[in-house]
């Protein structure tokens, strides 16, 4: 049976009222306790990006759906809607998400779409909704195509992708500390995801998980949150705008400028790691981290690092 046994809902749409309720609750919690931070224009920008993501999804989501069904035509197995298929699909989708997410950080072409999500200096539930408008442009769904080729029904994969997004909403908060050990061991949690959003050198390039943190543990990208170093959020070179259009397209425009200025190095500027430059005038996160871990916080390194004070004034 490859047809779903029941109409498959869109978990994200169904969860919108929950998103709103939790954001309101978090705002009140921050006001009351001072734990966490909100800023009105930052929140407005994040929410506008989320709204734009929905609109972009309406306009371009068909590309993903068409690619999914096209790939499914060439499936190896006929996997039906059985309990074991649901379990396998959950793990497979989460693994595919890990690699999509890791690719989105390690290669500039995909980073250009994903940087939006990291562009806030705040870390709260509205940050979860600060989503890309150009995911279809970067073909960010490509890492999911093997699932359809294996034979998982597209509706099943869409269901788990949606559930993963809903799960990932609640982990964008400073209001929740560390959870009991077994949960932190297996699942992506607010603590793990704070590390992912942090720009402190020790935290760079870590915790790409969607639902299960086990993938980071398996592939060597797990870094725990340290009590000694509070995460600072955003991107290494903080953007200086709340304009949703600048937020959405700034990295694409920057890529365009680099391609025009240095056409001979187009491959590097498109598919190199973020921060790559042909003359070494910029720093990748790996270089920043290497300098930090080598205990070589030189002036040259500092020149590319936002200071602690930029976030506390």
């Amino acid at each position: 049976m490859t047809e779903p046994p029941f109409p498959i809902p869109d978990p994200v749409t169904l969860a919108i009222p929950l998103f709103v309720a939790l954001i309101v609750a978090e705002m009140l919690h921050v006001r009351r306790t001072g734990r966490g931070a909100y800023e009105t224009r930052d929140a407005a920008a994040s929410l506008a990006m989320g709204f734009g993501n929905v609109i972009a999804g309406l306009l371009t989501g068909g590309i993903y759906v068409a690619a999914a069904y096209a790939a499914y035509q060439f499936r190896i197995f006929d996997i039906g809607w059985t309990w074991w298929a649901l379990v396998a699909c959950f793990f497979a989708e989460d693994l595919a998400y890990y690699w999509f997410h890791r690719l989105s950080h390690e290669r500039r072409f995909w980073w250009a779409a994903h940087v939006i999500h990291h562009s806030s200096q705040h870390y709260n539930l509205t940050t979860a909704l600060r989503q890309t408008w150009t995911g279809a442009v970067s073909l960010s769904f490509a890492t999911k195509l093997p699932l359809f080729l294996i034979g998982f029904p597209p509706e099943m994969v869409f269901l788990f992708s949606g559930l993963s997004l809903v799960y990932q909403f609640w982990i964008h908060t400073e209001a929740v500390g560390r959870l009991p050990g077994p949960i932190e061991l297996i699942f992506n949690t607010p603590s793990h995801h704070r590390v992912h959003h942090a720009i402190n050198p020790r935290y760079l390039d870590a915790n790409y998980a969607g639902v299960l943190i086990i993938w980071d543990r398996m592939f060597g990208t797990f870094i725990p949150e340290s009590d000694e170093e509070k995460p600072r959020y955003g991107i290494v070179s903080q953007i200086a705008t709340f304009n949703p259009f600048r937020i959405a397209f700034h990295e694409w425009l920057a890529i365009g400028r680099d391609l025009i200025a240095h056409p001979r190095h187009a491959i590097g500027y498109l598919f190199g790691p973020p921060g790559w430059s042909h003359d070494g005038s910029r720093r990748t996160s790996r270089e920043l981290k290497a300098a930090w871990s080598g205990g070589q916080r030189t002036a040259a390194t500092d020149a590319f690092l936002p200071s602690e004070r930029t976030h506390v004034l």
């Binding site: 009140l28 006001r31 929410l47 709204f51 200096q121 953007i239 200071s307 976030h311």
Partner: protein, 121 residues
């Protein structure tokens, strides 16, 4: 369509609530603080420095010809360093308008500033 309209209304309500709760702090750029921030960003000495009357932004000309912008963004500060070719100035009645060849930065009006830092008087 109902979802989109409902989402837009919910967004407006949440932004309104954030403002009502007072999440609207704005940092002031003070000279000593800005100089220290710039020094933390780059080891290049500051040749000249200006700050807007409102204290919302400052611009420093560095010894190597680059410019460092320090500005408030919501309740946080942003520092960006630019090559001279990536910065354009225009003098306005209210102050110095600075435009950056940088899609991630809005133009800045440095109110009360009537000269480019580091430029001959």
């Amino acid at each position: 369509m109902l979802v989109q309209v409902g989402s837009a209304l919910a967004i407006a309500a949440m932004v309104g609530l954030a403002a009502w709760l007072g999440f609207t702090a704005k940092p002031l750029v003070r000279e000593a603080e800005a100089r220290r921030l710039i020094a933390e960003q780059t080891s290049c000495p500051i040749a000249a420095y200006v700050v807007s009357e409102r204290g919302d932004a400052a611009l420093a000309a560095l010894d190597d010809g680059r410019f460092a912008l320090v500005r408030g963004l919501g309740d946080r500060m942003v520092i960006r360093v630019y090559a001279a070719r990536d910065v354009r100035f225009s003098l306005r009645r209210r102050g110095l308008r600075v435009v950056f060849e940088d899609p991630a930065a809005e133009p800045v009006l440095l109110e009360g500033v009537h000269a480019v830092p580091g430029a001959p008087a």
